[in-house]
Amino acid sequence: MHPVLKAVLQRLSIWIASLLGVSVVVYALAGLLPETFAADFLGAAAKPEAMARFDSRIEHPAAANYPGWLAGVLRGDFGSPYASGDVPVEPVAAIIAPRLRNSLALAGIAVLIAVPLALVLGAAAASGPGGWAERLTAGVAGIVNVSPVFLIAYATALLFSVWLGWFAPLATVTQDMSPGAWIARVALPVLTLIGLIAGPLSRSIRFEIAMLMASPYVQAAKLRGVRPDRIAKRYALPNAWSPVVRAIAWSLIGALPGLVVVESVFAYPGLGHLLVEAASARNIPVVQACVLIFASLIVLLHIATDLVEIANDPRLRHQR
């Protein structure tokens, strides 16, 4: 087998196995629902018959049912949410789909701005140690590292909404909004997310570039008198792809809990907000679906990182 293909299959199998492991845990955890759950969910005043009916509708996990559940999940069927009445409810998938779209839109905009911004700031910080770019990135990354996300979100809201009055304090968007109105509504969560992603990411980019420029082959090229732009293009860049993509993926994974908090603070109808709402309402099937989707997104980022790494590893391509 070709070494590249072998490496790809190896990484893929590890991540798919991990994701399967996560799905087993997520499925099995629902078996730990306390005895009193029906009363907790319906309220202590609920009639015993209603509680019994509710109990009978809950799917209790069993090892034999796991493959069927997993097959459903793979088809996008996450079952039905818990409901207090007997009225038929929307399936979990129908609740989740618009929320996932909203989250991807919000995160997509933030990432499209934050990642190039972090690359530029990180490169500027690496090229001028002690300069404004380094101090700015160190400052923002320092604040992001020690502050709870809700503090950053509220500080952003206070600055841009309460004091400056530029943007709406809540990002309550609807389907039929015009793009302009939509952008104005999501400005605060997008700004917060940009800070959360770009702060730490610019620091890791700066670190990776500094490591590259300090490497023996770059030093040797400098001593041979190779022009700086040629060093950057021919020596540093081909070796920068893997660490830079890895840094981006890690920063996005690290910002995922931040997305959950930011959506909740600004009441943005995304998947993270849905996760929190469903968790407080203890609607377990919805929570399980959200967790699985987040886990899949994380694993996809890991797989993409590994593929870039394999593609940029000449030892695999030119093996003797």
Binding site: S18, L19, G21, V22, V26, L29, A30, L32, L33, P34, D40, N145, V146, S147, P148, V149, F150, L151, Y154, A155, A157, L158, V162, W163, P169, A214, I253, L256, P257, V260, V261, S264, L275, V276, A278, A279, S280, R282, N283, I284, V287, Q288, V291, F294, A295, I298, V299
Partner: protein, 314 residues
């Protein structure tokens, strides 16, 4: 590094030939090292100690009870507190919260809750991770591989999301919250311990100890623990920072503690309405969390300074 230098200066002058050189105990060494720490680090130590003191003394210092509803909601700073008959019973120095409870008292009790939970989770994580890390380093082979694989699994889903899932199933519970937080920090601490122990075990002096016939327990006590102590301490302090941030985030989202318990981040959520009027009070507990994490993280970096120092030269 600094300790070695001190021995070098002290021993020739002070120790007589007959009396054995008095080895400083770990505690003496720690205290003298803290005394010589830079001013910034001493400030951070003072912040952490101050928060710990406030948390410990919260029942004494708090002017009012944690859950006692006293007056109007959202009273301004410095409002007089009145009993049912209208008699004055003190002052709400920081006003009252959304249910008319004294903000300053809630802040003190909330700090206590936050630090208690973070401390318990950090200790639990360290107690689980350290023995496992050492075990994995000693028992190369399938035990090591199984532990590494298990830790890899634990890190895939962020702790915040795991906490939301688990607490949605169990309902709000301090014990389960602590367990989830600890489980989230175990992989990092485990890997740190595993790597540090592995590097000690590959050193010549442990080979010598093995050839002398020393037991694994002796090697752990005399070779491993003294050499990984600083790395482990820095890793535990960093875990404390992460745990504090994750716990407060879960608490902010309303999932961690049952209702009347005061907690810093939950207070932010409860009183967030005030922010829309430009009143800063809800940000006080959030800033307290950030200040605590900043101080703890700075101390962690300082503890780890000699370890990273060797990399700067390259």
């Amino acid at each position: 590094m600094s300790i070695k230098a001190d021995f070098g200066i002290e021993t020739p002058g002070t120790s007589a030939v007959a009396t054995p050189v008095s080895r400083s105990t770990p505690w003496n060494g720690l205290l003298s090292e803290l005394g010589r720490a830079p001013l910034g680090i001493q400030c951070c130590l003072a912040v952490v100690a101050g928060f710990a003191g406030l948390a410990l003394l919260a029942p004494v210092l708090a002017p009012f009870g944690e859950a006692s509803v006293l007056g109007d909601s959202y009273a301004a700073w410095g409002t007089r507190a009145r009993d049912i008959n209208g008699g004055s019973i003190g002052t709400h120095w920081l006003g009252t919260d959304q249910m008319g409870r004294d903000m300053l008292s809630r802040l003190l009790f909330g700090l206590r809750t936050t630090l208690e939970m973070a401390l318990a989770a950090t200790l639990l994580a360290a107690l689980i991770a350290a023995p496992l890390g050492i075990l994995a380093a000693f028992r190369r082979g399938w035990i090591e591989q199984a532990l590494l694989g298990f830790m890899h699994m634990l890190t895939i889903v962020p702790t915040l999301i795991v906490a939301l899932l688990v607490l949605a199933i169990s309902g709000p519970s301090a014990a389960i919250m602590i367990a989830v937080l600890a489980a989230g920090s175990v992989p990092d601490l485990f890997r740190t311990m595993h790597m540090a122990t592995t590097s000690v075990l590959s050193a010549g002096y442990t080979d010598a100890a093995r050839l002398r016939g020393e037991t694994a327990f002796w090697i752990i006590q005399h070779d491993v623990l003294p050499n990984v102590a600083r790395t482990a301490a820095a890793a535990v302090l960093r875990a404390g920072c992460v745990i504090t941030l994750v716990f407060t985030t879960v608490s902010f989202l309303g999932m961690a503690m049952p209702s009347p318990v005061a907690e810093l981040a939950a207070m932010v959520r409860e009183n967030a309405t005030l922010l829309t009027y430009g009143v800063m009070t809800p940000l006080l507990p959030a800033c307290a969390i950030a200040l605590f994490v900043l101080a703890l993280g700075t101390i962690a970096n300082w503890v780890a300074r000699d370890l990273s120092g060797s990399h700067h030269g390259r």
